[in-house]
Symmetry: C2
Subunit: 312 residues, 2 copies
């Protein structure tokens, strides 16, 4: 008998569902909108309704469905308790309790960045590694750490919250969403490189393609870099240096086999990899020099893969 | 029948041996000198001779002795291979292979900072925690990370090598033993605070008790701090800030329950704890604010405790 697992990625805009075989084959993918009204109180019932549809459509029951895993954008402890998920409007939610009344199935929950890392380690670019750090370079910087195949969750479920490492000795003039002003994500996220660009163009007189752009994005900067725009190259250089130093710090702490870079900024591909590698080798402890640095392979699906893997 | 384990701490000056019951009671402690001549080739045979003496004296054999654990000042992989232990004169040594020919016992090896952390987590100040980071503030800064009761060894056995996190964006004028010049241990070790003091006294005209001291040590600085010596307070303040930011970074990565501070500097006790805590709370990610920060309890014996615990 074939066995299956459902992986769910609860996002602020949509809830993604993936039905997987135990070998990691994606059988079916579907999405419903996230209703965040009224403190997000419809989210779990909407998810439940959709789970029932999937189970019916694919003849799943407690015998051939090994369980349901879930990734949530917030801190998760004991693979069930969510402590604040701002994007969902949640304060404290016990997800296992909610589903235990309704389904005779294993239900396991983890932070969304952690399950994305688990997904990449299961069938993605990191499938040949046991210990990786996934770094998601989006609006913020998310992180997921896998040690010997297992998520490093931490006491509060905020293991791998690398975006909020106080990377900088001197505070920035801008404040991070977390309230601090020395955070890694303030200089290493997509927003980070955009702010580096704004500051650079304000402080320097230099001509640049970027001066023509209204809302400068990471992509604009990398495009200008590839056209040898001098300002863009200096801006990107600052960014690569910050990002690489953050990776070198993390490497000294957990000594992983590989870093997996995901999120919007990772679309820069080799431009990102080559430049980050150069700075990384300058900053890292000698033992960590041979770490692999790769671009994530599963894109936005990493979450559903990793969520399913939780229960397998 | 009572069961025992032997824990060995291989240091550059002496080899410490501890005989423990499986409950963590220290039955006997002994020491032999470390002979580092000829590439440290006598070290394991000296250790072996002493193990035989302990076994004979305490009537130990492969039935009542559960094994021998060892802490080594170098990177250790697969709990047997030592890759460079400079203080012992070793390049590459397979410790398990050496003993397997001679003893019918479980032999497990780990980095010395890691076993010290394991010792504190077993019967020391951290015995009520499952996940801790031990930070040894000595000539350098050593680190050992315990996650869910297990050592985080890392790919190269250099997990927890926090002394070589590139904490500083701007390079220091001095070079670290590792060849870099942005290392955490350059500002957070005993040597670190001494160098901060030398720089401060050179750059400032200010009167200070410390100007009378020939070779300023961390203790001199903390003693002067407690006499409200203004220069000493500024020097210590820089030190506390660096150390606290390093801890806040590590907390964002692994989200431990507690930090355990050991090594010479930790003799400063509450002066250290209180000041580091103040800066830590300023720098840390909000989720990590309630971490416990404690002074190590086992002192120089942490290594033999943790080494014994490896095989229990």
């Amino acid at each position: 008998m074939k066995k299956y697992a459902i992986g769910i990625d609860l996002g602020g805009r949509s809830i993604k569902f993936g039905l997987f075989t135990e070998d990691g084959e994606l059988v079916n993918k579907s999405t419903v909108n996230t209703r965040i009204d009224d403190g997000g109180k419809y989210i779990l019932s909407d998810a439940y309704d959709h789970i029932l549809k999937i189970m019916e459509k694919h003849d799943l029951n407690s015998t051939n469905l090994m369980g349901i895993g879930m990734g949530v954008p917030g801190s998760v402890t004991q693979q069930r308790y969510v402590n604040k998920a701002v994007n969902l409007g949640w304060d404290f939610v016990d997800i296992k309790e909610y589903f235990d009344d309704k389904l005779d199935l294993k239900i396991l929950v983890e932070n969304d960045a952690n399950v994305a890392a688990l997904g990449e380690a299961w069938v993605g670019v990191a499938k040949d590694y046991q210990s990786i750090v996934m770094v998601t370079l989006g609006t913020g910087v998310g992180g997921g750490i896998i040690v010997d195949g297992k998520i490093l969750s931490g006491k509060h479920g905020s293991g791998g919250e690398i975006g909020h490492m106080p990377l900088l000795k001197e505070p920035l003039s801008r404040t991070c969403g977390c309230g601090n002003n020395r955070c890694f994500e303030q200089v290493a996220s997509a927003t980070g490189i955009e702010n580096i660009a704004l500051d650079y163009l304000f402080e320097n007189e230099e001509d640049s393609i970027l001066r023509e752009v209204e809302n400068i994005t990471a992509k604009d900067i990398f495009d200008a870099f590839e056209k040898n725009d001098h300002a863009a190259m200096n801006i990107a250089d600052q960014y690569f240096s910050h990002l690489a130093r953050g990776l070198a710090i993390i490497a000294a702490v957990v000594d992983p086999e590989a870093f997996v870079l995901g999120g919007g900024v990772s679309n820069a591909g080799d431009l990102l990899l080559d430049n980050v590698r150069t700075y990384y080798e300058k900053y890292c402890f000698v033992n960590n020099r041979d770490v692999d640095i790769k671009i994530a392979a599963l894109g936005n699906d990493a979450g559903i893969y990793g969520a399913a893997k939780l229960v397998l």
